[in-house]
């Protein structure tokens, strides 16, 4: 039993290697049986990986502390949820999760395409299993999760393990890594399809159509993962922020930015046959950024508060990235002739142009984040001085970028393809434009002087109104034609073209998230040492410490303050910020007291005890509008799900595509 897990991943490694070879050789030599055996090998890999994962999870749950990984990341007193979550609590386990997810995705791809795309599926599986082989070699040779604790050749059993870091013992943190990984790993699939179709010079865009759902699902998980990370930082770390441009956070947002660009630019290829090279580059960059993200979080190459173990795992990743990128570049250059664009840009004020700038900005921000993250490494290599850029630098750069993107979110979807007439500009933008100006002037008159905040609120209203206008116009005509009530008509409208209206909903969610971000400009904070009975004030709130207690239980020691909150004389109840110190791990955590409201959060953190141990240091913050970030995220995720629902009216969509193709041929013949 002890060796079964190790045996399973070793066998999985061999079988995955066979799958790569059989698929590729079978395709090259045209041997259908070999290709089929490659597919079978994919299924076998999944079975073996599932066995390995099941063994690890069982050992974690039952607390078999002979395993080094179990002893490090689990202990007896942890709740079952966190025992399970310990699977991805450390290096070895989370790389096993990566492998297992990839095996699962690959199996689903193989199953769902076993009668389709026969000409390039072997290549798709070849690419996916190559990635699988890479991760399995990490599982086997670098970070083996099935190592046993041994002394003098004998396996030893420790009484109890270290347990999961208390900072990670939080529900959002328990699902944050698998979400992020579902996103990271998922981009391997569109990448594999792109490479497969590139190798076999597929005519048309079948790789894009096949992987559209994949990309959306993957993007969904990635967005959820990124925002769960932010929510965790806000609620657990006790520093009162949700995003600090830490290298590990950056690693999660890099592929998200590239993936978002990809989601937009594929529309150019589907509708107009443009940007073919660009899409291949984008999907490849997204995939390699996912690998890079795993590398950054796993190797400790850049200093980070997350501080994962430094290890020689970096060499493996760098080699894999270098080989992969070189091979991709070679393929793209070799097949440039097949990637010719079928139409051209015509006007600056057009849908094409707005996609172009959307991509430009997303990629520029992606590059900026990458640059900032790797700057210590780059500067050390170039000048010998290790220089880092802090959150300030990112904010200076990313705030204007974000605002520009927000603006494009509003105007882009309303520009017509090819070119937009002045008349349509006026029709679509007159009302939202005027409303935006009125709002900005009103806010300015009310005393708001923060330039970015003014612009941001203005754009938020502008985009929200353009989106609402689209829903209103569409639903009104449906309700008039079919005598439906308006709410029903909105549902009907969305159902008819889920991609379009789901997309609008995502944009609406982004607006809400930006409203939340903008609140950051008006944050307030106060720090004070308080004794029982003392009080402090922040904003409209008055805080009185009614109780200061301390105690301990078997897990941790704690200090807790009970704060009576009043606002303009009205009693709002109590908040109880608490500081814990876990004995087993000798680590402190903050249990912040938050009063979340739609307009602002009151956020109290127990900073610690003063030196004489008599007074408590209380950090009080007021965070305006921060709840809208979480609400907006839910709307984004909901919109993405709507995009995944099949549209009611498929025929019309297909017809416009056919018409488009005919036109394209005409223009080519000229």
């Amino acid at each position: 039993m002890e060796n079964l897990g190790a045996l399973a991943i070793m066998l999985a490694f061999c079988v995955a290697l066979y799958a790569t070879a059989a698929s590729v050789i079978g395709r090259l030599k045209n041997k259908p049986f070999l290709i089929v055996s490659g597919e079978r090998a994919v299924y076998a890999t999944w079975c073996l990986m599932t066995l390995a994962a099941a063994i690890l999870v069982t050992k974690l749950m039952t607390g078999d502390f002979r395993f080094a990984y179990v002893a490090e990341h689990s202990n007896q007193s942890m709740p079952m949820l966190y025992k399970f979550a310990a699977w991805w609590g450390g290096q070895e386990g989370s790389l096993l999760l990566w492998s297992w997810l990839l095996a699962t995705y690959t199996m689903v791809v193989a199953l769902s395409n076993r009668r389709r795309h026969r000409d390039f599926m072997p290549w798709v599986l070849g690419v996916l299993t190559t990635v699988q082989v890479f991760f399995l070699s990490l599982n086997n040779f670098v970070a083996n999760p099935f190592q046993m604790l041994a002394t003098d050749g004998l396996i030893v059993d420790v009484k109890d393990g270290n347990g999961l870091s208390p900072l990670l013992q939080y529900p959002a943190m328990a699902i944050h890594p698998p979400m992020l990984y579902l996103g990271y790993v998922g981009f391997a699939v569109p990448f594999a399809f792109a490479i497969g179709s590139l190798i076999t010079r597929q005519p048309g865009d079948s790789w894009i159509q096949t992987t559209r759902r994949w990309t959306l699902v993957t993007w969904f998980f990635q967005s959820a993962g990124v925002m769960l990370g932010a929510a965790w930082a806000y609620h657990v770390l006790g520093w009162g922020g949700y995003w600090g441009w830490d290298p590990v956070e950056n690693a999660s947002v890099l592929p998200w930015l590239a993936g978002t660009a990809f989601l937009h630019s594929v529309m150019m290829q589907e509708k107009k046959g443009m940007m073919k090279v660009w899409n291949i580059i984008l999907v490849s960059s997204t995939f390699f950024l996912c690998i890079l993200g795993t590398f950054l979080t796993r190797s400790g190459v850049v200093q980070s508060v997350h501080a994962f173990a430094r290890s020689d795992i970096g060499k493996w990743f760098v080699s894999f990235l270098a080989l992969g990128i070189a091979a991709t570049i070679y393929l793209i250059l070799d097949r440039l002739d097949y990637l010719k664009s079928e139409s051209q840009l015509e006007s600056v004020v057009s849908r094409e142009s707005s996609f172009l700038f959307n991509n430009l900005i997303l990629l520029a921000s992606c590059f900026a984040v990458l640059w900032g993250t790797l700057f210590p490494v780059i500067s050390e290599a170039v000048t010998g001085d290790k220089i880092s850029l802090d959150a300030d630098w990112y904010n200076r750069l990313m705030v204007p970028i974000g605002l520009f993107l927000l603006f494009l979110t509003g105007v882009g979807p309303l520009f017509a393809w090819r070119r937009t007439s002045v008349e349509s500009l006026r029709r679509n933008f007159q009302m939202p434009g005027i409303a935006m100006l009125v709002l900005v002037i009103a806010l300015f008159a009310a005393g708001m002087r923060h330039p970015y905040a003014l612009v941001s609120f203005g754009f938020c209203l502008f985009v929200a109104l353009t989106v609402a206008q689209e829903f209103y116009k569409g639903a009104r005509s449906i309700s008039a034609k079919n005598e439906m009530n308006f709410a029903h008509a909105v549902v009907e409208l969305t159902h008819r073209n889920t991609r379009r209206y789901g997309g609008y909903l995502v944009h609406m969610g982004i607006v809400l998230v930006f409203i939340g971000f903008t609140g950051h400009a008006f944050n307030q904070n106060e720090v004070k040492e308080l004794n029982q009975g003392d009080s402090m004030s922040i904003g409209h709130y008055k805080l009185q410490m009614v109780k200061l207690e301390q105690g301990e239980n078997e897990n941790y020691q704690w200090h807790r303050a009970t704060m009576q909150v009043t606002k303009d004389g009205a009693d709002l109840g109590t908040l109880e910020p608490e500081k814990r110190f876990y004995k087993a791990s000798k680590q402190g955590t903050s249990e912040v007291g938050v009063r979340p409201r739609l307009n602002e959060d009151l956020y109290l953190n127990f900073g610690g005890m003063s030196d004489d141990n008599l007074r408590a240091v209380i950090q009080a913050y007021v965070f305006p509008l921060v709840s809208w970030i979480w609400i907006g995220t839910l709307v984004v995720l909901g919109g993405t799900l709507i995009c995944l629902v099949p549209s009611k009216i498929k025929m019309q969509y297909a017809r416009t595509q056919v018409l488009g193709t005919v036109e394209k041929h005409v223009s080519v013949e000229k």
């Binding site: 900073g607 610690g608 030196d611």
Partner: protein, 147 residues
């Protein structure tokens, strides 16, 4: 070709603005990573530059003096006195023996005036049962580790 000129001009303007913002921000916010020894060797050059210095927090050295928190970080026997007076709370991971990164400037009296402290939650990821944080990890399968 004229319309491509327009696109090119717009792209150049957008990228130019971003590059300008990035470069300007870099000159103002860049921070040098230095070890405690390197800070000592910098001599007069150390004053006024934004530095980020890392080391282990000396056990028992953490003191609250008024609004500030003072402590000593140690690395390879070099010590540096740090005074922190930022508004953010110190991270939970900040404690005796933790690896801390202090961000700030060196004052003329030789104390390091930090505006930001980061502390690593390293022990959790690096230590094996029964080991001290920061200690090298032996190969657990070698049969020679002292667990």
């Amino acid at each position: 070709m004229k319309k491509y000129g327009k696109f090119a001009a717009l792209i150049v303007v957008v990228l130019g603005c971003l590059a300008w913002l990035a470069l300007q921000g870099m000159s103002e916010t860049q921070t040098y990573y230095k070890t405690i020894n390197e800070v000592a060797q910098m001599g007069d050059h150390a004053y006024g530059k934004r530095l980020r210095v890392g080391g282990d927090v000396e056990a028992g050295s953490i003191q609250r003096v008024g609004g500030a928190v003072q402590f000593v970080i140690v690395q390879d026997k070099s010590r540096l006195k740090v005074s922190y007076h930022g508004s953010d709370p110190l991270p939970d991971t900040f404690k005796d023996g933790a690896q801390a990164l202090a961000d700030g400037k060196l004052a003329q009296d030789g104390t390091f005036q930090a505006g930001k402290i980061q502390a690593k939650c390293a022990s959790k990821y690096e230590a094996k049962p029964g080991m001290k944080p920061g200690q090298a990890i032996p190969n657990v399968n070698s049969g020679k580790s002292s667990i």
